[in-house]
Symmetry: D2
Subunit: 345 residues, 4 copies
């Protein structure tokens, strides 16, 4: 239970600096619901990255961040175009449909990435009351397939959207991994790239449990306080959540944590590059390695190292690394993969 | 800002034992979403109080606990009868209506307490498709007015409900304060009293941010995992939330914390008993004192001690105590109240 | 079953002129969903009454008209303030809560009428994310109690709302009865009185089944086509519904129908004025008479004439008249009421 | 405007016998909301086809029938698997998502038909709270592509569903056309084929505007009255809607109407069989012909005969026939198609 896991980047614990910040926040009585100095500081730091007009709203988890953000962008008869593999589409138990009352239009997205062409094909029936009206393009950065959109790819989607009165949403549950992968700052993935609202992910980056909706288009921010509360995503003792965000944004901890996670995924992929029984299926650009290995090998390996079977039909598996993954963990895992898949090759 | 507050029991920080448990939980990698030993222990401890058939689901906050619990109990054409002062009715920004798609039927409730008579008057149109169908009675224990239902009062409401195919929900954001007030165990306020689903409050009792839905009627539990996830109330790094519940349920910390809070409210009420400018409006049975004082006194006092104006029309104010409130805090506050209200008497 | 009914104005059938218009519309193939000449004419006639900027959307029924209209006015965290007796509050099985995802805040309303004072008392917590934000005042004209708002009363509510960034909605299921009662045109109850969106009721006025949402504030109209469709209120063979509206708005049929209904209610009230066992409880200003009679009398009378028991607790009953009610019906009913209540006086 | 249309089967008017029934229903006052003899007769006739345990609920339109029916079958965290071309998926402006709060999982469906294989591929993550839980398979009969499921195909889907605790829903907006195509009775497409809830379409079959939800599994019927009302699909003057259903089910009018529509589609397809510029894309089994013709031909033809462009990308068009289509209409249209497509071949 406290061994090595490649199952998810949320199997890791809390980075010591984040935990220290939480402990430090526990001093005396302070106002609840965000009217405290730590939250003010978290907002200030996020504005430092995302720009002076960015307004940040700390929430509990990634689903909450996505759904609260999207609520500021769509009405129930409008739709959100997303990748078929998008977290909002397949991993949130229908929370977007329930809370938005709106349709997600999912499109095939090789490598987890939307293209202007794919989005355009999914946008039709404009002005026709029989059809949902495409309003938001939602992308995930880094994607659910471990790939990363280039700044140009994001900009192209943003331009496409804005020219049509649509908006661009970015699920940044792993935005730090993407920024590190691209060698840019967090803010380069925000308004600078044309994004209108984003989910800023802290939990997978080393926090205990905290995310933020960052609204980059001021006219969308006015309803956010209400949407967050009604969506049950407003913490009473907010200081303990904001402290996590502050810690990650202090001394570039976010970057160091993501850099380690990404490097460990690259190390794993590299170690398996020429392994005969292993086919890496997607470019390894962030902190995930997707591969196809023999099902019997999967069975054996999972008794030793937790990881996910991604697609039952193809036998594809997912190996995630985190801020806490160590080189020795990777090396041991890679060696064992080679051994076991060799037996079943 | 880190001074004394009577504004809310969530202005207090985290009890040291709870914080220690959170820190201790940060060891190695463990499965996410509740498939961990700490969560198992939290469930075991809750079953110890609420009975072997109780199923507990840890969630982020009180609104989440109430709304997820109620979702297992009502369909959209059914209604929840509650006190007009109920948290679900006035302090959750319409989250119940949004998530349930159902109507809350609020009834006048002196002292924050529902009676069988009040509920019965609000239950009508049974079987008539033009009207919402009364399905759940929801009570808050201790109430939003600082009062406490006796076991007999709960049982009467439960019997009323069950005889009519209805269910009883208990918002236990301050269930520990109620149990201490009544001198009973937590479990005496659950199935033993006829309650079907309850929100178990930990945050106000000294946690950092954690609550649990406790389902006492097994047939309602089957959908809870899905409802919690879809309602965006499932934590990924669950162990850190469960650890808080475990700490409070260890060595009766919940009871000690609630006992302090209740004692401090009683101390405050007692100190003001014969104060000429202070009218205490509700029985002080838990950790709140409701009083009417002169509005100018309120103005002055709030510059020194945070507290809430409860009703603008009557000038009623609310003074909350918590696990962290100290006798010296209360004494200083009471003295100052006497002083200031005396000036405006 | 085809006898005289005072149960509801929708127990009456269809006025012959309306039925003739429906039959006449059945000529050849025409485009569906409102892209037809009859619908164009219905819109033109409604604009003739409600002004050139009025946009009308024909829907199936009164609940649909109310809910579709309100959807253009509120977001889920906003609220609708209405009378406790409002149809949207008690007779639509929670459709507003379900479709709006929002809270109705109902206030005591003697005679079914809201006042500025009552609305103001229900509007609180403005800007506080814990509370729903009051956005719409919804009134019913004529009211569910058979009374009629004066133009001044409506204007006062409109001014109150508009000065606070709120909107005024009018449920006009019986708008024709109100206009006749006040001796004004339909349009005088629209933008002229400060109303922003209204439900135009045709069914109770002699149609077969048709209502319209009339949007008087152009900026709210843009989403209506989509909201109507998504709310399942868009008819495919629309011409047959629009024909009903056209017929009622031709040669002032709406006025003649309402005038008869109102006159019949007045006749009934007048005939019972000094009846010893009958207490008329509300001013008879439209087509309803509310009265309290002995419960045993009610029992006997209902075996002969259908009518509603309005409140079980007080024994209040409701007698409705319609376009089809005849003086002889009223006289027979009144005579029988006198007889039976006399027995039980 | 009153010429020949191949645009939709709801461009046609009302069959004279249906209209006569509506006119005849306009006699005296009767109870509203379905408590009348005509509605009783409609239910009796539907039971005659669909079995003694079938419970029918008349609603306004097809979207209403589908959404009200589905509401009795799924909770918000459950999903409906349907064809990508399903009306509920693409032509109801997101009404299912809005009203169900649930996800539709659409799968590729050549010819508009689901297969067990396609459904099975879309059913995954069972028991995993991160994923919506597949609960209903929804098919359309006849399909949106003018094809018809065989009884064996329906039964296979029903068996698949029932073996997994799922349910089978049938959108029968054109159920009459399907029954005629298969040479079976309406009831053979209901419980006999394993269907649990269906939408019985009357409007396209010659009614003015009426459909019914037919519940074939009694345990699902209990909530229907409330769901219909809350979904704003309960007519007050119900008799006029029920009369339409009665008329269609009297003397097999439904069958004659559908037979004509189907025959006219077959006639059109046959007349174009060897036309050089016309590629018929789907089997013509009901009352629709889908074809690909030159876009310039489409442009010319649509100035003379209304019809739909089905897919902009391929130039596919849809020609619908109805109860009112005449052989001479078809012949004139076919001749003109040959002429114009010849010019552009």
């Amino acid at each position: 239970m406290t061994g090595i896991s490649f199952g998810s980047d949320n199997h890791a614990g809390v980075h010591p600096d984040v935990l220290a910040a939480v402990v430090e926040a526990n001093s005396g009585t302070v106002p609840a619901y965000g009217d405290d100095a730590v939250t003010t500081e978290a907002k200030r730091l996020l504005r430092g990255h995302f720009g002076d007009s960015a307004e940040a709203f700390v929430v509990f988890n990634g689903t909450g961040a996505n759904v609260v953000g999207l609520q500021s962008m769509v009405r129930s008869f409008e739709s959100v175009i997303c990748a078929d593999s998008a977290h909002i589409n397949v991993d949130e138990c229908g929370a977007p449909e329930k809370l938005l009352g709106a349709k997600l239009v999912d499109v095939p997205a090789p490598g987890g990435k939307l293209t202007v062409e794919a989005v355009d094909a999914a946008r039709w029936g404009v002005g026709d009351p029989h059809h949902v009206q495409a309003k938001v393009v939602s992308i995930t950065q880094s994607t659910e397939c471990g790939t990363v959109y280039s700044l140009e790819e994001i900009r192209a989607l943003a331009d496409y959207a804005h020219e049509r009165g649509m908006l661009l949403h970015l699920d940044g549950a792993r935005i730090a991994n993407a920024a590190v992968s691209l060698g840019v700052d967090l803010g380069d993935l925000g308004a600078a790239a044309g994004v209108d609202v984003l989910s800023f992910g802290a939990t997978k980056n080393g926090a205990m449990g905290a995310e933020a909706v960052v609204v980059l288009r001021p006219e969308l921010a006015g309803s956010m306080e209400f949407l967050r509360k009604q969506s049950m995503q407003l913490a009473s003792k907010m200081r303990f959540m904001s402290a996590q965000v502050v810690a990650l944004l202090t001394d570039d901890l976010w970057r160091r944590n993501a850099a380690n996670a990404n490097a460990m995924a690259a190390r794993l992929a590299s170690a398996l590059e020429d392994a005969p029984g292993v086919t890496i299926t997607d470019p390894v650009q962030a902190n995930a390695v997707f591969a196809i290995i023999d099902r019997r090998a999967t069975e054996v390996l999972r008794t030793e190292f937790p990881f996910e079977v991604w697609r039952e039909d193809t036998g594809q598996v997912r190996w995630m690394t985190s801020w806490a993954t160590q080189a020795s963990d990777v090396d041991a895992f890679a060696a064992r993969i080679r051994e076991v898949t060799g037996d079943h090759a």
